[in-house]
């Protein structure tokens, strides 16, 4: 029996970033898959990578083409159905994204609390365990503005994984350490993939040979998006969903 795909990009989808149109596809992602999306061009194009990340995380619709997540087109869903799709995915942003008026622990607890399907004790236990795995227990009561870049990425990754998503979109390599050839966050994202079949897409602004080698070592693959020579159209970075 074949496993239902998490993501299907049928044909080519395109986004517009900084006045240029970029297209990708076709792509199919199944549970447990890990892929990196990056430009085929030699130069880095962070805006295009960010635009594709927003499309894959249901925050925007592509300028053209169709993306299906869990069997449906997020752009065509009413809010409550879209919300159910979003409960199954997570986005790890490259910068910002942590609620500045909440502590690290409160940020990580937010996906669980906001859905209202777990008691306080269960949430606290889950958050404590996740922070422990990420080595962030000491920072639990700190506010995001007091965190370094690597720790902030760890908190964003912890918040993404705390609700056990089936689909994780990551903007950039985050706290990747070249000297170590990895990072705790990436080990834990990979562990979630192995343990629960979480599929993951990493949107890279440009080629990253070390990360791509690490990805290949875990059965992952690289998909490239290319500049589309058609005239730009649609909203910048895709239409807001």
């Amino acid at each position: 029996m074949s496993v239902a795909p998490v993501l299907v990009v049928s044909g080519r989808v395109s986004v517009v970033a900084e006045g240029e149109r970029w297209s990708l596809g076709p792509v199919t992602v199944r549970p447990g898959d890990m892929l990196a999306l990056r430009p085929a061009a030699d130069r880095p194009v962070p805006e295009a990578a960010l635009a594709f990340a927003r499309v894959l995380a249901t925050l925007a619709s592509p300028s053209s083409g169709r993306v299906e997540l869990f069997g449906s087109d997020p752009a065509a869903l009413p809010y409550l159905s879209l919300q159910r799709v979003r409960f199954r995915l997570a986005l790890v942003q490259e910068s910002g994204g942590l609620l500045s008026n909440r502590t690290v622990a409160e940020n990580v607890a937010l996906p669980l609390r906001a859905r209202g399907d777990a008691g306080d004790d269960a949430v606290e236990a889950e958050v404590g365990a996740v922070l422990g795995r990420f080595g962030l227990s000491d920072l639990a009561t700190r506010r995001p503005h007091g965190l370094g870049a690597a720790a902030a990425f760890g908190v964003r990754a912890a918040r993404a994984l705390v609700a056990r998503p089936e689909w994780v979109v990551v903007e950039g390599v985050g706290d990747w350490e070249a000297s170590r050839g990895g990072s705790r966050s990436w080990e834990l994202i990979d562990a979630a993939r192995e343990a629960s079949g979480t599929a993951c897409a990493v949107c890279l602004p440009g080629a990253h040979s070390e990360f791509e080698a690490w990805l290949a070592g875990r059965g992952g693959r690289v998909e490239t998006f290319a500049a589309d020579t058609r005239a730009p159209g649609g909203a910048e970075g895709g239409r807001d969903a």
């Binding site: 925050l59 995915l89 994204g97 609620l99 500045s100 609390r113 906001a114 209202g116």
Partner: protein, 273 residues
């Protein structure tokens, strides 16, 4: 563009803004109802925080303003009506001017200066720092988690602050009256109470509730309107404060005029005459 075109464009732009604001209030009510079982603890927490920031933290400035306004109105009233013989007119003047007209306007002014600006800045910064985007992708409705509690908490805080203002203005106004002239407490209080009418209370309630919803919606609207550049945040703050003030004055003037035309609530001029 000729002046007529300019006027037309301004009217259309104003109308569009009003529609956006009504849409925001409607969306807040709708998402609060639709998602009522989700994240109730977070929702309650946000409301309580809003009541604390907008209401509790503003008690000091509101009491100070009430004391000053109460003293000024009483002093002017005594000069206008005389001392003992004018006690009843003075009590009515205090009720109508302070509690029905000046109080709600001053309290809302304090809330605009403190909370409307703060909310616009907070939400604008959240947009810039992609916090709202993070909430959306988590399946958390920013309208429900950020807008609805600010509308509800803001109105609750305004109701409370108006009560505080009323009590402080009456108490301190009467203390001033006693210090200036020997006004009997019973006469003063009975005059205050006799000026309270159902129509007057309704007018005050509409000013507080509609005014509170309006200024909080304006704050949220301008905060959410920030698109991504940090330089847009101060612009959003100043627009929110100015638009909230204009909305508030138009609302208060309209309600006072309507109450006067309907005849259910005496205007300050009617009292003085």
């Amino acid at each position: 563009m000729n002046p007529v075109d300019r006027l037309g464009a301004a009217v259309l732009s104003g109308g569009r803004h009003v529609l956006y604001l009504l849409g925001l209030v409607y969306l807040a009510a709708k998402t609060t109802w639709l998602l009522r079982r989700q994240g109730r603890r977070e929702f309650r927490r946000e409301i309580l925080l809003q009541v604390y920031f907008t209401g509790v933290q503003a008690i000091g400035p509101v009491v100070t303003l009430a004391a000053l306004a109460g003293t000024v109105v009483v002093a002017e009233g005594l000069a206008l009506f005389g001392t003992l013989s004018g006690a009843e007119a003075l009590g009515r003047e205090v009720t109508v001017l302070l509690l029905r007209e000046v109080g709600p306007l001053l309290v809302a002014g304090v809330v605009i200066a403190r909370s409307v600006t703060a909310i616009a800045a907070e939400l604008g910064t959240m947009r810039v720092q992609r916090e709202i985007e993070a909430l959306e992708v988590m399946g958390v409705s920013p309208i429900r988690l950020l807008v609805a509690p600010r509308l509800l908490g803001g109105v609750m805080a305004l109701l409370g602050l108006n009560v505080v203002f009323g009590v402080a203005a009456l108490a301190l106004g009467f203390a001033s009256a006693r210090a200036i002239a020997a006004i009997p407490a019973s006469l003063f209080l009975s005059a205050v109470l006799s000026a309270v009418s159902a129509a007057g209370l309704l007018a005050v309630a509409v000013k507080i509730v509609v005014g509170g919803l309006g200024i909080m919606a304006i704050a949220c609207y301008h905060g959410f309107d920030v698109r991504g550049a940090p330089t847009e945040v101060p612009v959003a703050v100043s627009r929110a404060a100015l638009n909230a003030l204009v909305f508030l004055v138009i609302l208060h003037a309209s309600i006072t005029l309507l109450a006067f035309l309907v005849g259910g609530a005496p205007s300050p001029m009617a009292v003085i005459r």
